[in-house]
């Protein structure tokens, strides 16, 4: 078992028994579900919208080379510097290079999961630059020195009381349970940071190939300030964020907010097409766009699971996932958690180290049912399991399944096993629930029904012979 798998099991054991955590997440998500459903109804035909979105992303991903080339050409035409990064390390170096070149001291960031993926903050801080997260949730988890708990709600696991305590400790503010007061405390700190920042770094929700524009969707206006105030703007995004045309946003923006936060549209939706143009009164003097591969092209090469690149990072699959709801976001130990994280992490970070995530699922399919771009999430978990076993099977399991296949195909053996089981279960109460119990994983928390005195097949055989006797008489 990999270190990541062991850590997952340990954390999952703790969190799934943590009733306070369970209640907190259930409460938060039950509110989300109500507003999400209300907004889904605002679509004329939600299923048709999903189909359209899946087809648009299919086109974007299956002609990614073409759309990326258009996107870059259009961006460069307005003076944007575009950088291509094959790996996370390259992307970090590119961004560090820009920071050094500009003699920057401080960087303000709006929410960017891609920057979490490449561990950008650590790299910048290691090089002694100040990095400030400006999204309120991200700001909170940064103060706690934690990774985001959820790709859309980074501080979902915290209560107002937790945040008040954190602010009191880190920002020396007076304790308050009032959300508006807590927000004002953060704003007071952040406003100064925007003004002092030399570089503003953002992520992207979509990249429009047709016009060469970055689309950013948010609720706090922090991305606007991040983009508008510092002299240099940098956007880091994965290559899969491309949409072919501007018109596609008419579908994708309401879809993202409906599924992401349960809003008809988020409060701010901005498009960025380059640095300040001649005659324009504001905007950054310099604009850099860093396009990140980081093994996305390997996923692209996998025809079976390519649709995982359709993901718009709305987080809807996390919200409905009973595994996520019980173990929480941090347990995964990945940038992208929940079903989409379990599907793509083995591709992004290694199948053997992360195969356990594909097994940590009851395959209920709630994720696939909810996904707005129709990614076949739970079936991809099965594909990952199969690929992991082809690459490196567990000898014990392989032998067990071979034996199983041998027995179930032979009625005589199957009946023998059944009779042996029935005999052995007489002695079972002695072992039941103890560490010697072969079914301990089950019986620690659950009772197990006994093998019936007359199984169905035994009933069927008796009935058939009775009938034959009747016929003979």
């Amino acid at each position: 078992m990999s270190a990541a798998a062991q850590e997952f099991k340990t954390q999952a054991r703790l969190l799934s028994a943590d009733l306070r955590h369970r209640q907190l997440i259930q409460t938060a998500l039950s509110k989300y579900e109500v507003v999400r459903d209300q907004n889904k109804e605002a679509f004329q035909n939600w299923e048709a919208a999903r189909q359209a979105a899946a087809e648009i992303k299919w086109e974007a991903i299956n002609h990614l080379d073409q759309h990326l080339a258009d996107f870059v050409r259009n961006l460069e035409a307005r003076g944007t510097k575009v950088h291509w990064a094959s790996t996370g390390a390259q992307a970090r170096d590119i961004i560090l290079g820009i920071v050094h070149e500009k003699n920057a001291r401080s960087i303000v960031k709006s929410k960017a999961m891609t920057s979490e993926e490449i561990h950008l903050n650590e790299a910048l801080e290691h090089a002694r630059f100040e990095v400030v997260e400006s999204d309120l949730g991200e700001f909170i988890v940064q103060l706690r020195k934690e990774a985001p708990y959820h790709i859309v709600f980074p501080a979902m696991h915290l209560t107002r009381g937790d945040i008040s305590d954190l602010f009191a400790r880190e920002l020396h503010s007076a304790p308050t349970q009032n959300p508006e007061d807590l927000t004002m405390i953060a704003r007071h700190v952040l406003r100064q940071k925007y003004l002092a920042a030399d570089i503003g770094l953002t992520g992207a929700n979509f990249a429009i190939a047709e016009t060469g524009m970055i689309s950013i969707t948010e609720n706090e206006g922090n991305a606007r300030l991040t983009a508008a105030l510092p002299k240099v703007m940098v956007t880091l995004l994965g290559i899969e964020k491309v949409l072919p045309s501007l018109e596609d946003l008419a579908l994708f923006l309401p879809m993202l907010s409906t599924m992401g936060t349960g809003q008809p549209l988020t409060c701010y939706n901005s498009l960025y097409g380059g640095p300040r143009q001649p005659g324009e009164p504001d905007g950054p003097e310099e604009y850099h766009v860093v396009l990140l591969d980081n093994r996305r092209t390997e996923l692209l090469a996998d025809a079976e699971q390519r649709d995982a690149l359709h993901c718009i990072r709305c987080g809807a699959c996390l919200n409905v996932c009973p595994i996520f709801r019980n173990v929480g976001g941090h347990t995964y130990g990945t940038t992208y958690s929940g079903p989409i994280g379990s599907v793509i992490t083995p591709h992004l970070r290694g199948l053997q180290d992360w195969r356990h995530l594909s097994y940590a699922s009851s395959l209920c399919g709630a994720c696939t049912e909810t996904c707005p771009v129709k990614i076949n999430l739970h079936h991809h978990l099965l594909h990952n399991r199969r690929n992991a076993c082809i690459q490196r099977p567990s000898r014990v399991e392989k032998v067990a399944f071979k034996l199983f296949a041998f027995i179930v195909d032979r009625p005589a053996l199957y009946n023998l096993a059944k009779r042996a089981g029935r005999l052995l279960q007489r002695f079972y109460p002695v072992l039941k629930g103890t560490r010697l119990d072969p079914a301990y994983a089950w019986t620690k928390t659950r009772d197990l029904p006994p093998i019936a005195q007359q199984t169905f097949k035994e009933y069927w055989r008796t009935r058939r012979s009775d009938r034959q006797v009747t016929k003979c008489i």
Binding site: C364, G365, D409, R446
Partner: protein, 244 residues
Amino acid sequence: MSIASVGMKVTLFIPCFVDLMYPKVGISMVQILEKLGHTVECPEEIACCGQPAYNSGYWDEARAVGGRVLERLKESEVVVIASGSCGAMLKVFYPELFNGTAQAETARAVSKRCYEFSDFLVTKLGVTHLGARFSAKVTFHDGCHGLRELHTYDQPRRLLQHVRGLELVEMNENVCCGFGGTFAAKFPMISTAMGEVKCASAQETGADYIVSNDSSCLMHIQGLLDRQGAKMKTIHLAEILASS
């Protein structure tokens, strides 16, 4: 009942856990199908669909089991499966599992003739009223495979609505019970937490019974309820439909 569907030869697929631990579920199905005028056959040689191996990633071993199941079902007129989960295996996963093999065509052909039990009664036979009586307040648990792979949602509910004395109340949401086959043993702590959420949700309805069309989910749920010392019981849909 349509004339075309009278007197069919129904091959009943009894999964291993129904055979071993819930024989009454299978017996109830036989009674119902025969009462409706169909001939039931139940091949002795079929014991498992191979799903444990398939879900664990061992597709070769799953094909070893499934391939022989397909051979034995090749000539069947219609196959009724006594579990939504095994039903999904035959109907949805076999075509993918055997894709590109010599049995691809058989897998697709058999898939078209497979029905989960409640789906067979309501969709194929058009039967919703079986003259059953069961005086209790019940809530229905949808096994995820039946619900999301086979789209069986209305069928069991329509059958329950016609049971005399029965009151059906819904839980607040359709969430997985946490069984998930080998998942329940690989990640027992998560499986248990999910089951606790499910049990609490069922108990909130004030029902006497949790009914399902999947005994595997019920095995997990009943196992938890027993350990909790809860009064609530689980029962398979077929047992209710066969009661009078």
